[in-house]
Symmetry: none
DNA sequence: CAATATACTGAACATTTGTTTAAAAATCAA
DNA sequence: TTGATTTTTAAACAAATGTTCAGTATATTG
């Protein structure tokens, strides 16, 4: 169990968490000072040292904005929402166009959906049923640079969107379903007809009715 | 419509997004240089200027780690949101007690979660895997007066919570799993050891990692 | 072709940001 | 009360980080 925080330490810790969630980066020491009307940077600095000693944050000396919050994902006090587009039209050749013709947006509670999602899309077939992903589910997609083999991705092929397992081998991209009755698709890397939107980070399914 | 990015600009833009997602803060210019083996900070710097001019990022002069990705804007309005408790202890004899010892709350966007949910609970076993409900999923429960046979319900038996199919026949309540290896449970109607919390209206599953 | 944008290097410079030291006041527990 | 810890101020310094200028090379476009 971590050592308890003083009132001031907790105030500053909460501020750091809130700032980080809202701004996608931690505050500088001087920004903390401004928030709490500190006249000296050492006011905030010494509290940071205490927070680090007690195990709430980790820092690297001399690096700007280098407060790393421990157990960031277990945080239950913060309520923060991110609004992401729900896309409904698909265009592999021009992915940006998909974001101009939306089916509205969804607000997600970042306490639960904690991977900086990029957009949402409705699952259009049962090709991944074996993985518990069904037609009609809403898939939350997180864009990432490197996608590992085996990851479940959202792919756009021409004007169709699909959820499939991803495999890249010898510059060939395979989109592999998990259920029978669906074909594995094969593409050359760089094929303009294929756009990998990102990894599926969450599934939301409506059950009732 | 945003102006298209060059290959290099896109590489760097993707790197910034990935870094930000993984580190909860944007990279410094020198960190970008290191990633791409640039010898001069201006190599990255000039690309940042291009990304800003094309509307993909926003920056503030002279601030460390001040790349703001335009897609990542958080929304703080609370319209159409409902906050529900996430329960983690179970007590069939005294259900109200479960709501005093919470594991926090979740905010749901009522555009998606549109059935007046009552509370949320983590799925504790794989007894409903055939229905695509896995251990670790978050189940959103909606209380309702009439529960039809076949509905998927959240039931509390003594001090344990379960997701099962519901069946009421001849004043006997059956809790039926969908996967092999799990037993059907049978109760007399009115049994104090059983509390039906409501129907499962949504399932949220984290996939990545 | 010329003009323009992109992609980089190199070196200095400016500003922000983190760090240290010294000290005073406030708080809290023994 | 006494002593330890916390909180805060103040000032100077060190390091990181962003910015600018000058220049080369390559591709792209009209």
């Amino acid at each position: 169990m971590k050592e308890a925080l003083t009132k001031r330490q907790n105030q500053i810790f909460e501020f750091i968490k809130k700032y980080t969630i809202e701004n996608h980066k931690p505050p500088t020491i001087r920004e903390i000072c401004k928030k709490f009307n500190f006249k000296s940077t050492n006011s905030a600095y010494s509290v940071l040292k205490a927070l680090e000693r007690k195990g709430y944050i980790q820092r690297t000396n001399l690096k700007a904005r280098n407060i790393n919050i421990n157990d960031f994902k277990l945080d239950k006090t913060q309520i923060d929402l991110k609004e992401i587009p729900l896309i409904s039209t698909f265009d592999a050749q021009n992915p940006l166009r998909m974001f101009t013709n939306l089916n509205g947006t969804i607000k997600l509670d970042m306490k639960i959906f904690d991977t900086l999602p990029s957009f949402a899309v409705e699952v259009t077939d049962d090709g991944m049923q074996k993985d518990g992903i069904f037609k009609g589910d809403i898939a939350i997609i997180t864009q990432s640079l490197e996608i590992k083999n085996g990851s479940i991705v959202f792919a756009v092929i021409k004007n169709e969107g699909l959820i499939r397992h991803y495999k890249n081998e010898n510059n060939e991209i395979y989109l592999i379903p998990s259920s029978r009755g669906y074909e594995t698709l094969k593409f050359k890397e760089g094929d303009k007809n294929l756009w990998i939107g990102g990894e599926v980070s969450f599934i939301i399914r409506k059950l009732k009715r």
